[in-house]
């Protein structure tokens, strides 16, 4: 009963955050410099006649008062009608749904890979604190953390695509070829290897560092000494007591990254010319394509909120102290 009331209160908080985020989403593109008219019409604003300008503006609904634009915006969101891209004329939801699977293929795979490796390496480093292994892996991870994404991506392209010719360097599928079944899956996998690899490698340090730190603090806890004094095997102490408790803060890190995963990764997708949400967003921003920008931002916002909600509801399951 009490728990349900608390759950409702929390949902209420999320609803408030969502309203604020959607409103910002509406306002931000309109605060940016530059007029979208040029892009819609395909010519510079200065070259248009006032009549032409007015027609284009009215067509896009940009002549209405802001309040009306805002309400229209809400109405369209609630009816899942996100409008059309200024530039391409395609419905937004079509664009987003087209791109989302590709992005998720990259980011979720990378998240799983980086999560597993980061947790394992972080726990191991902490367990062997001060050893050569710990110091070595820690320095390596810090170096990796400061490696630019585009640099590593381009290095991989130069190595695996250009020099060795093992893997394709761009796109999600081989263009101009119709494949089906396993052959298609193999083609997709082949294209995904390099971006996933780059993204995974660069995501490991954050997980590793938080897991290592969290494990170190758990190792100093009195209940670890209790577990040892019970005569448990080191592996049982490590798994049931150390890692189990050390995972708590890392879970939050991972859940939040899950939200970010929906936003795609602008740099990686651009380097590998991958047709994901990140590139859609990048193109929309550089073209001042409001509806597309708002559509992608909205997906991103909702994903982050859902991920937070997930982390919130997951935490009491993992840590009984936070249960009501």
């Amino acid at each position: 009963m009490n728990a349900r009331r608390l759950g409702l209160a929390r949902l209420g908080q999320y609803a408030i955050v969502l309203v604020v985020a959607v409103s910002l989403n509406f306002a931000l593109p309109r605060l940016m410099p530059g007029s979208p008219l040029a892009l819609i019409a395909g010519v510079e604003v200065g070259e248009m006649t006032p009549e032409e300008r007015a027609a284009v503006t009215a067509d896009a609904g940009l002549d209405e008062p802001l309040v009306v634009q805002y309400l229209t915006y809400w109405k369209s969101i609630l009816t899942l009608d996100f409008g059309y891209s200024f530039r391409q004329g395609t419905p937004i939801e079509e664009l987003v749904l087209d791109r989302l699977p590709w992005t998720l293929l990259l980011t979720l795979t990378a998240l799983v890979v980086a999560g597993a490796i980061g947790i394992a390496l972080g726990a191991f480093a902490a367990w062997r604190r001060g050893s050569r292994w710990d110091v070595g892996s820690l320095s390596f991870m810090i170096a990796l953390e400061s490696t630019p994404q585009f640099w590593l991506g381009m290095l991989f392209i130069a190595l695996f695509s250009v020099s060795l010719g093992w893997l394709p360097s761009f796109g999600a599928t081989t263009p101009g070829v119709e494949l089906s079944g396993l052959a298609w899956a193999a083609d997709v996998a082949e294209h995904a290897v390099l971006p996933v690899l780059t993204l995974s490698i660069l995501s490991i340090p954050a997980v590793y560092l938080s897991m290592r730190y969290s494990t170190l603090s758990v190792l100093g806890e009195d209940y670890i000494r209790t577990a040892q004094a019970k005569g448990l095997r080191p592996r049982a102490v490590m798994l049931h007591h150390v890692v189990r408790t050390a995972l708590l803060p890392v879970t939050t890190v991972l859940a939040l990254r899950l939200g970010w995963a929906f936003g795609g990764t602008v740099v990686i997708e651009t380097v590998f010319s991958y047709p994901g949400l990140g590139r859609l967003m990048y193109d929309a921003v550089s073209a001042r394509d409001y509806p597309v920008m708002q559509g992608t931002f909205l997906v991103f916002t909702i994903a982050v909120l859902l991920a937070n909600l997930l982390a919130d509801s997951l935490y009491p399951r993992l840590d009984p102290r936070t249960r009501v």
Binding site: R5, L6, A9, G12, E221, D222, Y223, R225, T226, A227, Q228, A229, K230, G231, L232, R233, A236, H240, H241, R244, T245, L248, L318, D319, P320, R321
Partner: protein, 724 residues
């Protein structure tokens, strides 16, 4: 090396144990040669202050020392050498043959697993039983250690239990595999005195029931006297004295043991008796002295003491009482007449044949309390007219908002719920009560650090909550606070002199140079050398840090000093130094002290008046001698009964106060204590709250039945009759 013939029943025997921690080219000698043993079915108490190496010794027996520890010597369990065992063999001993209970049950239990799972895990680590069977056994064990409704509570998590219940869970876990030896490492130090009595009883009952041996590690001589068969006293990594409990308490021979017994505040000493101080502090753990480790602090030290290490020798050939002291023969002759249990006897102090070494020779660093500067302890009950009141609390209430949803707030936590008290000039008020009774909240409210929900705090004619911000700042100068943990209450990045002068800086008093001079003066007031000002807090000992905290509190010449558990984090010998310092400062500076402590003996030593707090309210207050000598409230009696008397001949085990205090969110109706009170009368105590009345002159009690209880109670306890 003990020359006593090894007994056949010897279960766990440690011989010549040395443990050295090697870190960054520095060796810390934690254990410098320890011999001790526990026999089948016996309780051995290992007594020592922090740094004595008692816990390290036991950790070594479990094979749980960190990798940088170097261990020499021998630890035998029956006929097996533990130090020669490989990790696998040691694991089969840990938990199965040796069970352990640690100090803090909250941090020693894993918060994310249910208690039954943690117990079952210990069972399954040593025997091949199913999960179901292990769980069933866990429930049985929980019942055995006195968890009410064990079956239902077995799948609860540690945070859902009270402190005492958690320690019972720890004990159930240690017993899971039927160990031969139970090592209890300060198992009651983190608990209230009432709960401590319950746990002491439980362990002793289980030991007798199972015929198990117990090694009880403690710094509390009271508990030790109540439970131990034999006692081993450790100092700076060595055993200085060991023997049967009664011999040791009756006729302690080693100057350290004797000093410890006299430094300890106790309820059965004559009221107003002075505590003796063991001067100086522990030797540098990195040094490896050739002679006696205690020589630098010893009043009896001679040349040979610093030159050669004394061996632990039985006083009588073949006897059980052994002492590591070159002068044990002479001290024994004198010592036989020392009634150590009455405390305060000067026999073992510097005698004519033993001139006290001058301060320069003893090598002890700062922090030494010159015995000559001893302040008079509080005088007996005041007949003189009451001194003027400095601070008055009138029906003070502090309620915290409870946790509720975002629209409706839950019932408040009534931390302080209608307290009327006053602090008199130049006198000390002691505030006692179990944890959660609201003592600390009361103190913070007095200083204006807590928002009050009702009532008033008045400094003279100034009422706290009506004052402006400027007025409050002025007020804070007149009332200062000393915290329990001096290390946590100081900025580690500041030098000691900056810590002390910080209040001056904040209040812009004088130039930087003047502030520095004043800091030096303040350090001298608290008996620290000025040079210490250049050091950092972490370079000081615990006692020195608490002196620095007091110096800081004195920087603005306050009239009122609030001390929240000022000696709880300190060792017994250092406690006495700080208590004497506070008394001296009071008489020299005319300070009014509010001292909060869970340790009734400390309060009895230092306070003029005492207030007993229960669930946010005062249940009894009066002069020290009235409250301690003729307690009228059943709660006060329960608290006093729960305090272990450091006298093995008086192992009275009165029924300890049962249970834990109820929640301050929904205090019981009527008298808040009635649920735990043996005298409670239905229809009166559970319906009508008793008012705090002056039932005897100057002695206020909130109890309907105080007169009846006083009339019906049996002959007065000798512990009490010693008072006043």
């Amino acid at each position: 090396m003990v020359t006593a013939p090894p007994r056949v029943t010897e279960l766990l025997a440690i011989r010549g144990l040395r443990v050295t921690f090697r870190a960054a080219g520095r060796d810390v000698h934690a254990v410098r040669g320890v011999d001790l043993s526990v026999a089948e079915g016996e309780t051995l108490a290992v007594v020592g202050e922090s740094g004595s190496g008692k816990s390290v010794t036991m950790t070594a027996a479990l094979g749980l020392l960190p990798e940088n520890a170097e261990v020499e010597g021998s630890i035998r369990l029956r006929d097996r050498e533990l130090l020669a065992m490989d990790e696998r063999a040691l694991r089969s001993v840990r938990g199965a043959e040796i069970g352990v209970v640690f100090q803090d049950p909250m941090s020693s239990l894993n918060p994310v697993h249910t208690v039954s799972r943690q117990i079952a895990e210990a069972i399954r680590a040593h025997s091949d039983v199913s999960r179901g069977a292990a769980h069933a056994r866990a429930v049985e064990l929980l019942g055995e250690v006195g968890i009410p409704d064990a079956k239902a509570r077995a799948d609860d998590y540690p945070h859902q239990f009270s402190g005492g219940m958690r320690q019972r869970v720890m004990i159930a876990m240690a017993l899971a595999c039927g160990p031969r030896v139970l090592i209890a490492d300060e198992p009651t130090t983190a608990l209230d005195v009432t709960v401590q009595a319950q746990i002491v009883d439980l362990v002793d009952r289980i030991r007798r029931g199972r015929g198990m041996s117990v090694i009880w590690i403690s710094h509390d001589l009271g508990v030790v006297a109540q439970i131990a068969d034999r006692v081993t006293v450790m100092y700076a990594g060595r055993v200085v004295e060991q023997g049967p409990c009664a011999d040791l308490f009756d006729a302690a021979v080693h100057p350290y043991t004797a000093g410890l017994l006299r430094a300890m505040p106790r309820l059965d000493s004559p009221a107003g008796a002075e505590l003796e101080v063991i001067r100086g502090s522990l030797p540098d753990p990195e040094a490896q002295p050739e002679g006696c480790v205690f020589a630098p602090r010893c009043d009896h030290a001679q040349e040979e003491c610093a030159a050669a290490r004394p061996t632990l020798l039985p006083l009588v050939a073949g006897g059980g009482h052994a002492v590591a002291c070159h002068r044990s023969g002479e001290l024994l002759d004198h010592g036989r007449v020392v009634p150590a249990r009455l405390g305060g006897s000067p026999t073992l102090r510097a005698g004519a044949d033993n001139p006290r070494p001058s301060g320069a020779v003893d090598g002890a660093p700062a922090g030494e309390a010159p015995a000559a500067a001893a302040a008079p302890a509080p005088p007996p009950a005041a007949e003189a007219p009451a001194p003027p009141v400095v601070v008055a609390l009138d029906d003070l209430r502090v309620h915290y908002r409870g946790r509720g949803s975002w629209r409706r707030s839950a019932a408040p936590v009534r931390a302080v719920d209608g307290v009327t008290l006053d602090l008199e000039r130049g006198r000390t008020l002691g505030l006692v009560g179990e944890s959660g009774s609201g003592k600390s909240t009361l103190a913070r409210a007095l200083l204006g650090l807590e928002k009050t929900s009702g009532g008033a705090v008045a400094f003279g004619d100034q009422v706290l909550h009506t004052m402006s911000a400027v007025g409050l700042r002025d007020l804070r100068r007149t009332a200062q606070m000393v915290f329990q943990d001096p290390a946590a209450s100081m900025n580690p990045a500041l030098r000691v002199e900056d810590v002390v002068s910080e209040p001056l800086r904040i209040n812009r008093r004088g130039s930087v140079a003047e502030q520095r001079v004043r800091a030096g003066e303040l350090l001298e007031i608290v008996e620290l050398p000025r040079e210490l000002g250049r050091r950092y807090p972490h370079q000081l000992s615990g006692g020195q840090r608490q002196r620095v905290a007091i110096a800081r509190a004195l920087a603005l010449d306050p009239q009122v000093l609030v001390c929240d558990e000022p000696v709880s984090a300190l060792d017994v010998s250092v406690q006495a130094q700080i208590i004497r310092l506070l008394s001296r400062l009071q008489s020299e500076l005319g300070l009014s002290l509010l001292i909060i402590s869970h340790d009734l003996a400390v309060i009895r030593t230092i306070a003029h008046r005492v207030a007993v707090m229960y669930l946010g309210q005062i249940v009894e207050r009066g002069n020290r001698d009235d409250v301690f000598g003729r307690p009228r409230h059943p709660y006060t009696r329960g608290l006093l009964d729960a305090v272990p008397v450091p006298d093995p001949h008086r192992r009275s085990r009165p029924v300890p106060l049962a249970g834990d205090p109820p929640s301050p969110v929904a205090p019981p109706s009527g008298c808040r204590f009635h649920e735990r009170c043996a005298f409670a009368r239905p229809g009166l105590c559970d319906t009508t709250p008793p008012p705090l009345e002056e039932q005897r002159p100057g002695h206020w009690t909130a109890c309907h039945l105080a007169d009846e209880i006083a009339a019906s109670s049996t002959a007065p306890d000798p512990a009490r009759s010693a008072t006043g």
